[in-house]
Symmetry: C2
Subunit: 212 residues, 2 copies
């Protein structure tokens, strides 16, 4: 049965799930979420798809799963790929998934939203500066970690890589320039060289009016 992913192109959290599906490779198709018209926050979406009002949501028959990190773990159970080789590696992968959701993709996602998709009168320079500082601190931890290793955990690509890269392939400006972070830059090239890799906008249709 074809897996369905409620998602939209601008969502790096959706991209983590979409990329994990695509690299599986698993039989899947995107279900477009009209995010900028408020669909994810609607009562219908909350009651029928996800009470958290968020994308992505994976639908596998009767099973609905949200939060990209849970979707990634579920897909690893299906494919046997992108998990650790030992219990220690599994814990380390979960550690980076949590860190990414707490410190990297969270701040980067909101910052990129504010700088590109929010109307200028709702932007705050103070909030952008605050989020930029938090993003920079997270990127420095990622850069340091990747300076002496090819992949986040173990000897090959895992869900730790596929979560941390969630927002880092987008070209819209959000205070991240690959040339400033050489270890991250090389690691992103390694991910993009994986067989079957695709850019977020090639996996999921954008929802922002100018791009859709």
């Amino acid at each position: 049965m074809t897996l369905k992913l409620h998602c939209f192109g601008e969502s790096g959290h959706s991209y983590k799930a979409a990329l994990t599906l695509e690299l599986g490779p698993l039989d899947w198709e995107p279900v477009h979420v009209d995010f900028f018209n408020g669909v994810a926050r609607s009562a219908e979406f909350r009651s029928g798809v996800n009470e958290m009002g968020e994308a992505p949501v994976l639908v596998d028959g009767e099973t609905h799963i949200s939060q990209s990190g849970v979707i990634q773990s579920y897909l690893t159970e299906k494919t046997g790929k992108f998990g650790g080789e030992t219990p220690e590696e599994d814990r380390e992968i979960l550690r980076w998934i949590l860190w990414d959701n707490h410190k990297l993709s969270s701040n980067t996602g909101v910052l990129r939203f504010m700088m590109n998709f929010l109307s200028p009168q709702h932007r705050s320079d103070d909030v952008i500066a605050f989020l930029t500082g938090r993003q920079k601190a997270a990127l420095q931890i990622l850069e340091t970690h990747l300076t002496q290793r090819d992949w986040m955990v173990g000897r090959s690509v895992t869900n730790a890589d596929l979560t941390c890269c969630g927002y880092l392939f987008y070209e819209e400006p959000f205070g991240f320039t690959r040339a400033d972070w050489p270890a991250i830059d090389r690691w992103l090239n390694r991910i993009a060289d994986l067989p079957g890799w695709k850019h977020p906008y090639d996996l999921m249709r954008p929802a922002y009016p100018d791009k859709a």
Copy 2:
């Protein structure tokens, strides 16, 4: 062997781990992190304890584990408590752990820090308003979820409860008044009624100079 937890009283992320240890009950002791003097971000802490520069960190012999959600999962393997009764419940618990770290405790922790522990000249009204809005959206999801159930997942207390309550027992002002959220208020009372429950400052020494 006594488990050690690098932690400090003001850290709700530390509290999630400390409370899971205490309710286990497991033989553990806190190792005080002098957070407000920058210890967690020092080169020594990063190289010797946690490259992420954060508390809590659990030390179990040679094993070091950071990120409260990973510590909680590790302790559940030890005690057999606070996990799900089925694989579906396990996924649901992980979903709320990720959501809490991404949407609730993350915003609440920073907001509380800004409003109580940051010198006034570094505070920004715009950032406080931004974080307050994000906290309110997360609290509304929690309130709705708890309106028709006693515990976050399944029939009794799990790690999903012990993560989401991380910052909600603190008395310092951070835009959360229990009376405004009746379902959350009743649920916090249920948690506080668990045998062995303790307030964060009774489990871990505060690090802020006025409180230490």
